[in-house]
Amino acid sequence: MSLFANTTILLGKELRTEFRSRELLTTTIVFILIVLVLFSFTFDPLSEEARRFGSGLLWLAFLFAASLMLQPCFLREQTNDTLSALRLSVSDPFAIFLAKLAANTLFLLLTELLLLPVFAMMYNVPVLPVLHWLVLVFFLGSLGISVVGTALSAISAQARMRELLLPLLLLPLLTPILVASTEVTGALLDRAPYVQWKGTGFLAVFDLVFLTTLWLFGEYLLEE
C-alpha cells in the first residue's frame, strides 16, 4: 500500500479515537481558556496594550496547551502495545508519524479556531476582516508545533518523568515558531492590518525543515 493510503487509514483511526471521547479537545480548550483569563489579570486587557501583547499571549497559550495535548499521542499506544501492531501493519513507519501529526495539527487548529472568537471578545480585538490570513498562520504554526511535538512525544513516551519531560524538550525547540507566529499575528491584529510575508514564509520553511528531518530520522524513533 502506498504511503498516502496508509496515512489516510491511520488518520481515520486517530480521528475516530479522539472523537469517540473528545477528551483531548475538551481539556485543551478549557486549558487555553484558563490561560487567557489568567493572562488578562497581568495587564489592562481592553486597552491598546491588548493589541501589542495579544498575539504573543495567544501563541504562548497555544504552545503550552500543545505541550500538554501532544502528551498522550504515543503514550496511549503503550497500554496495549498497539504501536508494535501499527509498525507491523504499515510498510513505511513515516505513515504513522504523518497520520499522528496530521491529526494533531487538526486538533490544534480546531481548538485555536474555536477559541479565536472568545479571545477577540475578551481582549476587544477585531479578527473578522483578517480571518482567512489568521487561519493560514494558525495552520502553519500548528503544523510546525505538531511536527516537532509528535516526534518528541515519541521520545518522551519512552523515558521516565515523561509528563514533565515533553514540555522541557519541546518548548525551547519551538522558539522560532513562537517568535515568527507572534510577529505575523501581531501584524494582522494591528490597527492597520497587513500580511507579514517574511514571517509567513519563515513558518513554512520551519515546517518543511522539520518534516524533512522527521522523514529522514522518524523510523528510528519507533525502534523497539
Binding site: L152, L165, T175, P176, V179, A180, F210, F217, Y220, E223
Partner: protein
C-alpha cells in the same frame, strides 16, 4: 605521561593567550580595558559551537552506525560545549554591564546562545531519564539532531524580529571595527580554547567509555 604533556601544552597555550589578551592586544579606544574580556567571551562562544557541532556529527553517526563510541563522543561533546556556553553566558553580562549599562540585552546572539544552552541542558536531562543504554543513546542522539537543526532557525527568527531593541555598540556586526592585531590575538585564543576543549573532551570521553564498560560488566555479572 601523554596526559601530563597534553595538560602542560594546554596550560602553556592558555597562558600565552591570556598574556596576549592582556599585554599584546592594543587597548580599545572607546571601551578601554574592559573590552579585553572579548578574547575569553568570543573564543568560548566559537569553541562551544564547535563542540556542539562535533556532538551533532557524533549523533548522526550513532544513528547510522550504532557503535557506542559515537554515543560517548556525542554526550562528551555536548557537555563540553555546555561548559563553554556557560562561560559565554557568564562573561556576557560582566562585559555588558559597564559598556552598555545593562546586564542583559535580548539581542540575537545572546538570546540564541541562551536557547542553545537550554536545548543542550534538555539533551543531558533526557539522558538521565532513560535507563536502558541503547535506547538512551538512540533517543538522545535523535533529540540532539532535532536540536541542532533548530539552531539556525532560532538564530534567524530572533535576528529578524527580536533585535530592534538596544543595539550593541561594538561588534554590532560580527567583528566590525576590530584591530588586525586584536583579530590575531582572538584567533590565537580560539586555538588555545580548542586545545582545552580537546583535552576536556578526551577526558570526558574516556570517563564515558569506562562507564559503558562498568555497565556491561554489571550486566554480565547479573546474568551470571
Amino acid at each position: 605521561m601523554k596526559n601530563v604533556l597534553f595538560v602542560a601544552v594546554v596550560v602553556l597555550l592558555l597562558g600565552a593567550g591570556a598574556y596576549a589578551a592582556f599585554f599584546i592586544a592594543p587597548t580599545d579606544a572607546k571601551q578601554g580595558l574592559i573590552y579585553r574580556i572579548l578574547f575569553l567571551h568570543v573564543a568560548s562562544a566559537w569553541t562551544g559551537l564547535t563542540a556542539f557541532f562535533i556532538s551533532f556529527i557524533a549523533n548522526v553517526l550513532y544513528v547510522w552506525r550504532r557503535q557506542p563510541q559515537w554515543d560517548w563522543l556525542g554526550v562528551s561533546a555536548a557537555e563540553t560545549g555546555l561548559v563553554f556556553t556557560t562561560v559565554v553566558l557568564v562573561t556576557g553580562p560582566i562585559w555588558a554591564h559597564p559598556v552598555w549599562g545593562i546586564w542583559w540585552t535580548w539581542d540575537a546572539r545572546l538570546t540564541s546562545t541562551f536557547v542553545l544552552w537550554l536545548l543542550y541542558v534538555s539533551y543531558l536531562l533526557l539522558r538521565t531519564l532513560i535507563e536502558e543504554p541503547d535506547r538512551r543513546a538512540l533517543l538522545s542522539a535523535l533529540f540532539g539532531i532535532f536540536a541542532f537543526v533548530d539552531v539556525p532557525l532560532v538564530f534567524g527568527s530572533i535576528r529578524w524580529w527580536r533585535t530592534q531593541h538596544p543595539q550593541p555598540i561594538i561588534m554590532g556586526e560580527p567583528g566590525s571595527g576590530l584591530d588586525p592585531l586584536m583579530y590575531k590575538v582572538l584567533f590565537f585564543m580560539w586555538f588555545a580554547m580548542l586545545a582545552l576543549m580537546t583535552l576536556l573532551l578526551r577526558q570526558r570521553y574516556l570517563l564515558e567509555a569506562m562507564r559503558g564498560d562498568v555497565e556491561t560488566m554489571r550486566r554480565q555479572w547479573e546474568v551470571a
